[in-house]
């Protein structure tokens, strides 16, 4: 492929084969653009799109960000309908509301759910009894599912193939620059050698690494916050099989099925982040992959399990199998209100070069609409 594509000019080059990159490339191709998708790793959807909680956010998670909650109500059903075969819903999901340190009360949470139109039901008494009433104020049963990352990878791979997107794995974009004509040149390093490809439009969908390309190309740094995160992979005890549990809204935890490995992920607001750093102009840049590789990977599972058994004593019997380590990226502005907007920077430092990132898979619909349908959107105000 690389020989054949050496000297042509693509209509669009999408950098990053995560969920946003693959759906964007597919959609661009479906609309007629000759599209090349570059993925630095050996597989599509191998990084943050896979190494996360697999939650298909149905809005419940955002009682402090009404808009994020509301958009989830609109986008989640669409995602579930479109990716039906990738959805894992063979479990019942309960949300517990923490008593002492929660930022919402049970009554507020129920009212929020009502306002965004998310259903809540009373849990069976046997489930309620699993929670320690000293630390849990309220328990509700919700309708929220997870996705199977393996199936999702298969699905987006097929979609790319059917649409006719050219995909190059193990190929990273090194730099992007304006070329002599009205197009851009992307310097890429593939399995064989370095070369450059021409493109009319370039989309940077590399999530945590978004500023790596910006920095190498002399383009402005987008202020981002990164966290080095650990989710424990656990085998839940018998009483909790077939259950997902999320405790809100503060320094709490969730236990959710992780279908690719037939295990559960245990993540904890306090112990999942191991380190945090910021991308900002002028400051020395931390490379996310480098940071991930240098991490000593001392699991915080002992801390997680000590805390969670106070809320859900049955969890004392859960067994850690492994941990998933990944770099998670959020917008600094989301820290206070816990919102999860999409970041879209059109013509970021270069006409035709666009940066797109988000934190929730179902946000892809909003992303596609904004990127492809609204030519005025994403132009930086400053």
């Amino acid at each position: 492929m690389s020989l054949a594509t050496a000297n042509r000019v693509w209509d669009a080059v999408v950098i990053g084969g995560g969920f946003f990159g693959t759906v964007l490339a597919t959609e661009l191709r479906r609309r007629g653009a000759q599209t090349l998708l570059l993925e630095a790793g050996p597989t599509l959807l191998g990084r943050a799109s896979r190494r996360n909680q697999a939650r298909v956010h149905a809005g419940y998670h955002y009682p402090r960000s009404f808009l994020t909650g509301l958009r989830s109500r609109i986008n989640a059903p669409r995602f579930i309908a479109e990716f039906r075969e990738c959805i894992f819903d063979d479990f019942t999901h309960y949300y517990g509301i923490g008593r002492n340190f929660s930022k919402v009360t049970g009554a507020q949470f129920r009212r929020f759910c009502e306002r965004i139109g998310a259903s809540v039901a009373a849990p069976p008494a046997a489930v309620r009894r699993l929670f320690n009433p000293v630390f849990i104020e309220d328990v509700v049963q919700v309708a929220e599912v997870t996705f199977d990352a393996n199936r999702l990878r298969g699905r987006v791979t097929r979609d790319l193939h059917h649409a006719g997107v050219a995909v190059e794995l193990d190929t990273s974009a090194l730099r992007v620059a304006r070329s002599a004509g009205a197009y851009l040149r992307v310097a890429v390093r593939g399995p064989e050698a370095e070369r450059s490809v021409g493109a009319r439009r370039v989309f940077n969908c590399t999530y945590a690494a978004i500023n790596r390309l910006n920095d190498a190309s002399g383009l402005p740094i987008i202020p981002l916050k990164h966290e080095l995160t650990e989710m424990a992979l656990v085998e839940p005890p018998a009483e909790l099989r077939g259950m997902g549990v999320t405790v809100m809204c503060g320094p709490f935890f969730s236990l959710l099925p992780y279908p690719p490995l037939d295990l559960c992920t245990l993540s904890h607001v306090r112990y999942t982040p191991h380190a945090a750093w910021h991308d900002r102009s002028g400051a020395p840049r931390v490379d996310p992959d480098d940071r991930l590789a240098r991490n000593a990977r001392v699991s915080a599972f002992p801390y997680m399990i000590h805390d969670v058994t106070r809320y859900l004593p049955a969890l004392a019997a859960c067994r850690q199998v492994d941990s998933i380590w990944e770099v998670k990226t959020v917008l600094p502005r989301s820290e206070a209100d816990d919102s999860r907007p999409i970041l879209f920077r059109r013509d970021h430092g270069l006409p035709g070069y666009h940066c797109v990132t988000g934190s929730k898979l179902d946000n892809a619909y909003d992303m596609l609409e904004v990127v492809l349908e609204r030519p005025d959107a994403g132009v930086a105000a400053s």
Binding site: N100, V134, W277, R280, V298, P302, Y303, H306, P332, E335
Partner: protein, 329 residues
């Protein structure tokens, strides 16, 4: 539970402790690191008005496994400790006063607790450094508690203690607003052991409690933990009522037998004085208990949390390359 699974929490309330918190955190984290693989130090800031928060910002960047809980206003050190116990995740939780309790003693107390004691509490060896009215008052208080009020408070016991998870789980269920860790940890039962120790001081001049504050504390502990004062007053009231009935009988008898009753002003005054005195005393005590009752019945949260933060270093390898936010917050 093997030593490697053991998680030890230290809870310390802070109130305008900017001058000593750095040395307290350094000593305590060093002690914890030397003895335990997993630990946390929980600092509960009872809404300090000095530089404490700024000092904490710096400490969170330098020390691992430190958590800071900042209360929305000052609720008092006892409630601050309660907030710390609610948040602590350890198998054993040590409660320390940052100014006076020696961190070096914690491992020994944890060992005693691992051997089965639900609560291991500290007893200060020597109060010689305190002003004499306080010492005298303390001796009187402990004596009166044991003798008259049926309240067995170990003499000179301090806040310094290690509680097992079982004891912590019991204490956090008690949501009394007027709370005294010393009596609460005895109230929940489980076996207890004491450790006699010398207090340290991180300040050139220790902050000493005023006599008034000590009297308030003593009364608070009594009213919160003992119904004896109420019973004593009830007994007194009954005695006065009985005497009054006897006296009335006497008056009537004298009236019937002796027809020359003219003076009696002294007696009348005496009765009035005694009765009103007893009534006043009674109503005071009843009012005190009623106030307590009302206070406890308002179903309000014990405290409000302003924010919770933790160390931005998780292990030594992560110490490089960390930039904390300065603009976005």
């Amino acid at each position: 539970m093997t030593a490697s699974d053991l998680l030890v929490s230290v809870v310390a309330p802070l109130r305008n402790d900017a001058d000593i918190v750095a040395s307290f955190v350094a000593d305590t984290v060093a002690m914890l690191k030397a003895h335990y693989l997993h630990f946390e130090l929980l600092l509960v800031d009872d809404a300090s008005s000095d530089d404490t928060q700024r000092v904490l910002d710096d400490l969170l960047m330098r020390h691992e496994s430190v958590r800071v809980i900042r209360l929305s206003r000052s609720f008092g050190s006892e409630v601050a400790i309660a907030a710390g116990l609610d948040a602590a995740i350890g198998d054993f939780v040590a409660v320390m006063m940052p100014d006076s309790d020696p961190p070096a003693l914690v491992p020994q107390m944890v060992e005693q607790s691992r051997d089965g004691a639900g609560v291991v509490f500290g007893i200060r060896r020597d109060r010689a450094a305190e002003p004499w009215p306080l010492r005298l008052g303390a001796a009187f208080f402990y004596g009166a508690c044991n003798r008259f009020f049926g309240l067995n408070i170990p003499k000179n016991s301090t806040h310094f203690r290690v509680l097992s998870r079982q004891a912590v789980n019991a204490v956090v269920q008690i949501r009394d607003r007027n709370r005294y860790l010393r009596t609460l940890s005895a109230y929940v039962g489980y076996s207890s052991q004491s450790v006699v120790y010398d207090t340290i001081t991180r300040r050139a001049r220790r902050r000493s409690k005023s006599v008034l504050a000590a009297v308030k504390l003593a009364l608070g502990i009594l009213v919160a933990n003992s119904l004896q004062p109420l019973y004593l007053v009830v007994g007194l009231g009954l005695a006065v009522v009985a005497a009054n009935i006897g006296f009335l009988t006497y008056v009537v008898t004298v009236y019937l037998v002796n027809r020359e009753v003219a003076e009696g002003w002294t007696t009348q005054s005496f009765i009035l004085g005694a009765m009103f005195g007893a009534l006043a005393l009674q109503s005071t005590v009843v009012a005190a208990y009623l106030a307590r009752l009302l206070g406890e019945q308002q179903d309000r949260p014990l405290y409000f949390v302003r924010e919770e933060r933790q160390s931005s270093v998780s292990n030594p390898v992560d110490r490089m390359n960390i930039v904390t936010d300065s603009v976005e917050r």
